[in-house]
Symmetry: C2
Subunit: 324 residues, 2 copies
Amino acid sequence: MAVYTEVPDDELAEFVAGYDIGAVLSAKGIAEGVENSNFLLHTESGFFILTLYEKRTRESDLPFFVGLMEHLAAKGLVCPQPVKRRTGEALGRLAGRPAAIVTFLDGMGVKRPGVPHCGAVGEALARLHLAGADFPMRRENALSVRGWRPLFDAAQERADSVTPGLRAATESALDALEREWPSGLPGGVIHADLFPDNVFFIGSKLSGLIDFYFACTDAFAYDLAICLNAWCFEMDGSFNLTKGQAMIAGYRRVRELEPAEVHALPVLCRGAALRFMLTRLVDWLNVPPGALVKPKDPLEYYKKLRFHQRAESAADYGLVGVPA
Amino acid sequence: MAVYTEVPDDELAEFVAGYDIGAVLSAKGIAEGVENSNFLLHTESGFFILTLYEKRTRESDLPFFVGLMEHLAAKGLVCPQPVKRRTGEALGRLAGRPAAIVTFLDGMGVKRPGVPHCGAVGEALARLHLAGADFPMRRENALSVRGWRPLFDAAQERADSVTPGLRAATESALDALEREWPSGLPGGVIHADLFPDNVFFIGSKLSGLIDFYFACTDAFAYDLAICLNAWCFEMDGSFNLTKGQAMIAGYRRVRELEPAEVHALPVLCRGAALRFMLTRLVDWLNVPPGALVKPKDPLEYYKKLRFHQRAESAADYGLVGVPA
C-alpha cells in the first residue's frame, strides 16, 4: 500500500490540462505498488492511473521504464500504456516529482495462484521477452549477482538475529553464486519482478502485466527463475512441481529454452531466491520499531534457497522432454 | 488512508455475483475514509465503491446509514447510492464483515477551501437537512454533550502532556457546556462529520456528499456549527469571517435559521470544537509509538475552542441581518 504524496487540486488540474484527456473528475489514491504514489484518475475521457515517482525510483531510469511500456504495448502486450502529453512527452512533473499517466488496466492480482495461472504466466513472460527483443534501450540489472555482495555486507552483522546461522549460510550461497553465475545466456528485456501482484487476471484469464519498475536487460531464463520462485511454492515452503511444469511448458509454447538455459536453471533459481532474500533482509533489519507496515519475511526466500540448493537439474522444476 | 481487509478473489467474485452488476473486472483498495475498508470496483456494468465495515462501525447502526443514503439519493441529493442485492437487501457479508456496494461519485475533496466552497457547503448542508426531514429512522448522537465526559475521563490524566493547562481548560469548557447545552432546537438527520474530505467538488462546483457514518438525529444548527469549525478557519487558527458569512448565507438560502438557532450558535460552535478536540485527544494519547499514521492534532481544535469562547453572538460567525 502506498500513497506518499498529497497532490494539491490546482496542480493536478494544471497537470492534467497538459494532456488531451479532458478535465479531472476524480482522483483517488490507490493501494498499488510499493515504491511510488498511484492514483486512479477519472477524467472526461475515461479512467487512468496517475503515478508519481518517489525517491526510490531513479529519475534517470524513467525514460527506460516508460519507453519500454510504450514499446511493449505497441507490440500488443497488454500492459499500462503511457499517455502522451500535448508536447509529445510521456513524462511530466507534478507536486515536485516526475509523473506519468498510463491507461487503466482491468484485472486483479490473484492471491492464491493455481496451476492454470502458472501456465498463463509462463506464456506471458515468454511473450514479454519476445516483444522486448527489439527495444533499443538498455538498463543494467542492479540487483543481479554483482549487486548482492553490497546487500549482504549491509545485512550480515545482524543476519543471525533473524535466524541463527543465516549469516554463514548466506555468505556460502553468495560465494558459490559468484563463482558459478552463468554468462552469455540469451537475454534482453526482463521484467525482473513478475510476482502475483503484478499479473492481472479477469476470472481465470490473464489480462495484463503491470509494474515495470524493476525491468532491465538480463538473461531471459533468470526472469523465468524469478517467476518459479514467486509462483510455484506453496505457503508451507514446498515446491509444487505441477505448477513448475505448467509454467515452464507455458513459457516453451511461446519461446523454446536453449540447452544452456536449461542447464543454468538451478543456479538461476538459487540466485533469484538469494536476491529476494537479501533485499527483504535489508528491509527487515531497517524497519522502524512499531511501524505499521510489516516488511516481507526474508526467511520465506531462505527456505526457497535451500530447496534450490538440493535441485540437480531443470527436471526438478518441472521441465520435461529436454535433456539438460 | 484505510484498507484493512484483504478480500480473497473467489469470495469477491461470489459476493458480486449476488448483485445484478456483471462480473468483477477490477478492485483496487483506495485511500478513502478512515474507519472502513474501501475498494474501487469495476464490473461489467460500471464503477462502484465497495465498503467493508470494520469493527469501529457498529453493525447495528448500518441499516440507519445505508437506509439514509437510499433516502437522500431518492430525494435528489447527490450522495453514494447503495446498490441492492438480488435479494433486495443493500447489506451483505464479505470476508467476515458487513459489506455494501454503492455508486461511484465523481469529484474530489478540496484541500484548500475558498469562500465559494464554504457557500456551496452551507447550501448543501441545508438541502441535506430538508431531504432527511421525513427519514423515519432515528440514531442518537453518541458524540454529543453526553458523550464528552467519558472521553474527557479517558484523556484527562495525560492531557497536560499534550500542552500544559489543557486538562483544566477542557474541564472548565466541558462543565460550562453541560450547563448551557441547548435543547428543543429544530432537528432531524445531521451529517455530523461534513469535513472537506467528505464534500466532493468538480472544479468549483459541489458534486456530492459522502461518508454518512457519523450521521445521526440531532439539532440542525449543531451540524452548521461543525461545518463552521471544519471549513472557516485558516491554517494559522484564525476564523475567516468572509467564509463564515458565505456558509451561513448559503445555508439560509435553502433553510432559514430560527431565532433559537441563531442564539445558540456560539455555544454549539464551542461544543463542536470540544467534540473534535476530545476524540482527537483520545486518539493522540493512544497512538502506538513509531506508528506511521500520524493522528490529527487535538490542539487545532483547542485553538478553535478558544476563539468560540470569545464569540458573543452569531454575528461573530458572519450571520448578518438577523437580530440574535
